[in-house]
Symmetry: D2
Subunit: 328 residues, 4 copies
């Protein structure tokens, strides 16, 4: 039984707390959040302890593992403190917005042997994971191209956009990891930015983008991003191979369809937003972490994955500005 502490009692902390509480191999031991009310409330739901003293998590000898759901700027400090204290760590993404900080963290992590995993939850989405397993099983022969359609239902507040690091670091980062999940290391990046929202334009950011990535084998991934999609949270994947094509459509809560005189076979909206759409993914990601730690296996994602995704975000930012493909 793995005793786990969750740092951060916000939305994502609540999701992880619920998974831990119902996992047969783990116990939700402690919720830590500087806002005591949030920690207390979440702890009460699951019968866990709570604290406002984050540092006490790292010195608590009864804690085996820490799930970090604190704000992004605190990810690296919490991650390093936990890892150095010998705790297994699952750290939410993005690890940080600045590459220097991440590189420095990697050096420090290299010196510790505790298992550390990074939250690329979409790899654990049942449909995306099944699609990749089918590719790995040779169901479409050799992979030739990948199409990732990834659109948010609505743009975040402009104040968030300004500090987000830009669309490629903030939004496409998930898709870069998905591309790497299928293609491995990327050697060439081209990005095309679009602007519709005046506020986002003034903030110096794009609100839509098309990114094309190539790996050393010539396999190409195309990512289509929009900050705002009126059809909802549009999350699709398509892999084309030498003997067939696999795709994963959007997910809906039910299979109900309505037909009448105006339209036929009309489905309900897509699951919206990421906490609903990727609820299974978050749960399966955390289970993978718990199981890896329990069985002494290396967790399925690492700081290297976080670094590589961030590299791709930087390359895309440059490419979208210069109109040139960037070679890595």
């Amino acid at each position: 039984m793995l005793n786990i502490a969750v740092i951060g009692a916000g939305r994502i902390g609540q999701v992880h707390a619920r998974t831990i509480a119902s996992h047969p191999g783990a116990a939700l031991a402690l919720i830590a959040d500087p806002f005591g009310d949030a920690a207390e409330k979440l702890a009460a739901v699951h019968g866990a302890r709570h604290t406002t003293d984050i540092d006490s998590v790292f010195t608590d000898g009864s804690i085996d593992a820490v799930v970090i759901g604190s704000p992004t700027p605190l990810h690296i400090p919490h991650l390093l403190a936990a890892a150095k204290a010998g705790k297994a760590v699952l750290c939410e993404k993005p690890i940080a917005l600045d590459m220097k900080d991440v590189e420095a963290a990697r050096e420090e992590l290299d010196a510790v042997s505790t298992p550390v995993m990074f939250g690329f939850n979409r790899r654990f989405d049942p449909s995306f994971a099944a699609l990749r397993a089918a590719v790995a099983d040779g169901r479409i022969g050799d992979l030739e191209s990948l199409l990732i359609i990834s659109r948010d239902p609505a743009a975040p507040p402009i104040e968030y956009v300004k500090v987000s690091g830009g669309i490629f670091r903030d939004m496409t980062i998930h898709d870069f990891d998905m591309a790497r999940f299928f293609l491995g290391d990327i050697v060439e990046v081209h990005a095309f930015g679009q602007n519709f929202d005046p506020g986002i334009t003034q903030a110096g950011d794009f609100d839509a983008a098309v990114v094309t990535l190539r790996n050393a084998d010539g396999v190409v991934a195309t990512i289509i991003n929009n900050r705002k999609c009126s059809a909802g949270y549009d999350q699709r994947l398509e892999a084309q191979g030498s003997t067939g094509t696999l795709n994963a459509d959007n997910v809906r809560a039910t299979t109900v369809r309505l037909s009448n005189g105006e339209a036929t076979d009309a489905a309900e909206p897509y699951l919206d937003f990421f906490l609903q759409r990727y609820a299974d993914a978050y749960r399966l990601e955390l289970s993978a972490f718990i199981n890896a730690v329990a069985e002494g296996r290396t967790p399925p994602t690492s700081i290297a994955d976080a670094i590589e995704a961030l590299h791709l975000a930087e390359a895309a930012t440059e490419s979208a500005r210069t109109g040139r493909a960037v070679t890595l």
Copy 2:
């Protein structure tokens, strides 16, 4: 080159005329209709001759085949006159509403050797025909059950309902033939009628029905009929077999789908009404007739099919009234 005359310049006559005109193995020679304007207009479109004298069709030595699209009460007189004159005949359904008339016609037809085909057009619908071919090819093993959903977009005028012979003779007749297309001869019929429309109720008819048929091998077909379906002209088929299931969905003019905040993946309405929905079926049916005649083969449907479907309509009428299954 088969020289064909069309009797009746109404909707169905126009459909057949167009098919004949563009068929490489046939020539549209003559349009006959007591309403001279209709015949003249249709003949002009295709460069054919026209006449108001129906009898002249049968004595015209240049005519090889006759397509009968006249009103139902004239089907048998026109059919017999054409067949006795040695013309090949394609007769639209229903051949008649009264079984005695049809039985008498069969006796007369037995005495002539000219090819005579009856218009069960749905057998030629590309999806239904492909589904049946797949069943025949063993794609679902042994056929175990068939589901026919067949709903009209709106009830006909009440004056029509009164002389229609009732829902089973007028509407289900197509589905009885479809059931026979898959199951062959039927040995047991049960029908359940429904009433929603007061006018239809007063006319002594049903406006919806569920009919269950069984053949000698125990295979069951279920027919679901509605005179009025707000989702449009709903025409589906599903066959369940010992190794799988096949279904044929409704048909739409395009593959376009719309997704927005209210609904996703919404398709356009079904093709509506039968002239659109079964346009390919009418064309392929007439081609089958032309080819059978040209190649000296027996046409794919016969007066026996018309008689059997009418028998099932009578049995269903009795069953719906008595609440008892009728054995044939």
Copy 3:
């Protein structure tokens, strides 16, 4: 916090135990099963107590509610003992196979005031529940007909068939409840049985059936059942109303589709079997029970629902034998 005991540590007991353990308003207090190993093992997973003494459940003052997942013949004894002990009860279906036993149980239950709910889990399936809510919201106007397709992937062992009470009591029972969920009280039943499997035929049972039901408003439900469906666990629903049609398709674990030279858009198999397909339904059913008890509301299903479904099973059995519609 509702303290709940589960009687029966088999498959369905395990499902309910997991739901209770992760429900914020309930605690899994006790697992009771005459097979001590099963009870102990299941209790260990969730940190609950366990016992082989079923009667001790009813006398345990710390237990607020009992979930009965024992074998069918024990349902009524356990149900009555628990209810008389003042426990809230959720009893799995079928309550019993013999109507007399159920009627007797109803009389005894009438004398106690504790909340008792019966496990018609399919009412809680997200798609079926959403479809019914859409009907209730008037999305298709007035309900005119319902189609229930309900096929098991494979027939149960012949020894089970022999004691099952027949297809209508054992399998269609769920669909009778679904029909009642939409149509309310039924006034007329017609059933058509089919036989393919020699073993089932020898056992005097059917292995497929088509049942047609009518309520007092003339709304008709058609149920299509098969003991064996090679396409998998086929569970669909379609409601036709005066302004539109709603359907709920089968459920799959992912949205992945494969296209290649042989077939396109091929989805994975349906969720199979009922513990997977109706996993959400079992969870939501139990939540509805917990919430109703916690809030002092009458649970959403009652012994009257169980009795009515059993009445329909008896009527269908008679109709299938006689070929006559049965009026209730």
Copy 4:
């Protein structure tokens, strides 16, 4: 009645001949092909005249319009000869592979007043045309991005590839026109080429490509091309707008779907190849030509469309070589 001559009795000439023969407003007067057998055979099917002397078409005073289906290098000579002779002309694409030749042809055409249309048949595909009409009707608000997936089932023979002008001129040309159909004039092009087939690589060409186009309003079109797609002739379109998304899926001959233990809801292969997939498009394109000429309207496509598509092909070729976006 428009008297039309068809130059070229090959596959596309046969398609156009059939459409003309069955069009009520046109007569198929003459088939011209240097291979006399082909011309004679096709003429016989439709009861038309035939000739091996192409020049005689232009001097034949009974001919009102000419459809040019000769080999690409003869397009411009035939087009100019027909236009100068005062015939209306429908010229198949590509008009030519070299921009200089096309520019020269444009100058000559500017001097004549006869209607000349170019065969961008995909604009007339029912699904694509309906999707564009829905965009024009504001069904998705302002168009923000377009996705064109366009994959051939198999690469052409390597000898063809060598003289094809490259994937962008030979294959993407259709998609460039589709992008222009939705976005109008393009101001920026970026192309990413891929290589899998060694023969195509040696021929200096790509066998797959991703092209991104932007118009002056910032709307982006992404084109995904493959010379070989094992799932068949994959032709899809998706338009994303400010209030919704529209997509047009692949087209199949029937709606039949198969479900069994291995896969469910499996559809048949896509229509394959372009003569089948775009049969309706070819027919509607030619009807649009006939109707425009008959009614004295300007045909819906012009040499300017052909030139603009060729410009985009040249820009894409340059971009794919240099890795830089090309500004037009």
